[in-house]
Amino acid sequence: MPKKTPSIESSRSKTILITIYLCFVFILAKLFYWQIIKGQELRDKATSQLYRLETLIPKQGHLLSSDSFPLSLDYTYFILSFYKPNFKIELPQILAEIEKIKPGFIIENTKVLEIFNNPAQKWVEFKTEFNREEMQALSKISGLDFTLKQARFYPEDDLAKNIIINLERYYRRKISGRIGFSRSIVDGVGSNLLTRKNWQKNEIDGEDIQLSLNRKVQLLAETTIKKSIQTYDADSASVIIIKPQSGEILAMASSEASPSALISKIPGISDLFEPGSIFKPLTMASALDSGSINGDFICQKCNQPRVIGKYTINNWDEQFHPDSTLKDIIKNSDNIGMSYIIERMGQKIFLDYFHRLKLDQKTGIELSGESISPLKTYWSEIDLATAAFGQGFAVNQLQMIEAFNTLANRGEIVTLHLTNQKKAEYTRVFSEDTIQKMNQILKYAVENSPVSKLKEKDLEVCAKSGTAQVAISGQYTDSNTVGSYIGYSPCENPKYTMIVTINNPRSSQWGSSTAAPVWFEIAQNLEFLL
């Protein structure tokens, strides 16, 4: 057997060595590639598989009515999506399974399924809402994904809907709470592992907000006001009912013949109107309180129209009432008498009371969209005379009821509020003596005017009706009016103060024959609810 030469042996061992070196270099190169070049990418991928970042959705706060009934709730549902590459069974089989759990799914989603039949379409989402049980039953099927969604649910349907939506916007931060985050290590099956590396910032649930709205009173107000639009062939109508002593708003309803597209609009705070004769008791109370007139005032010039410059002040029925007392002036809604009363008071005192009654400022109610009208800077003699019976300036309905409620609340103005987030503030405007006189006057006016037929015998009411003409292009028109009725019941320690306004009623233009019947209809039923 021939012996191998040493040169052949050394070349073989060299080859082996070189191969080993090359392998080593190759391994090094591969390691360099994976650890240095691809290192960061792989680390990121590993972290994303190891860690799970979750958004912790807080529970939204509820809006609660005065009896703590939820007026808005959270509602959780799931949306289904298909991902074709993950399918393990055929689509018809999947659809049959879904149909078993959610009958009607295929019919409801025919169009989406047609799109999904296109081979290029790999993913599709459906609009059908699934509850948690349905989701759990279907989530075992491969290729089906569910996304959690949250929506708001309003148990009372459209009851006070505009107020609820407006309040939800106003208190958005408080109700929404704060989103939390959780970063945790997960095991192979995706369950969370308890380790020190986990990090969590808890979600903060939203706050519940207690409203002063009384559901039953609100429903009564809404149904009655809706009916009044048809009865009086009006453009719109609004009502506000408050608790006189606390300033809590019990109901705030409005209805329009052609509903506004803006769902959160609240006409009671956004629409301005000239109050007209419902303002007379406030003018009279200011005059009495300031000592400009006393209780035995008699209007000696009320036997004829009053002429100021080129303007003539007349009464609504063009009737004159000589030697009218204060009671007669309110009962007859005497514009002439009121113009003499405000003349005694003068502009300075009138504007001082106007300011103290907060008619030149926003009520500060917890709603967005409140409008106010800037007060004129120059007041002529005729401006002051017409202001006595509520013409020449505009207020919103809430401002008017807040000011008028001063008579119901023993002379103290109380800030109106809808929620427990705002506390009532009290400021004295009229003395108790003035209030006593005004109560007698208003009671007399109700008992001795045609509206007394509308009320039940045992219902004691202190109220005033008003009809304000609407100025169009700087001119008052008879065709477009706002009928209103404002008052409280009973006159001593009243249970509620209420204002009703009917915009542009075509069946009758007078507040006493449009707004007053609505006021008394609500008042009759309120007796059982409060």
Partner: protein, 68 residues
Amino acid sequence: MSNRILLAIALGLFCFQLAFSLYYSGKIVTDNQIYTELNKKYTNLKYENEKLEIEYAQKNAINRIESF
């Protein structure tokens, strides 16, 4: 003699570490299982609560009552 003491200490430490690891790893696994179970329970109760709230609200809503 001192070698034996050292060996005994080393063995003791080894056994302690072994026992410590076994005990606490078992505890961590158990706690983790409890946590997962409780988490599941919490989620289920949360949904149950939401469902009950909606049922209660639907049952006691007054808006559909036509008259008083």
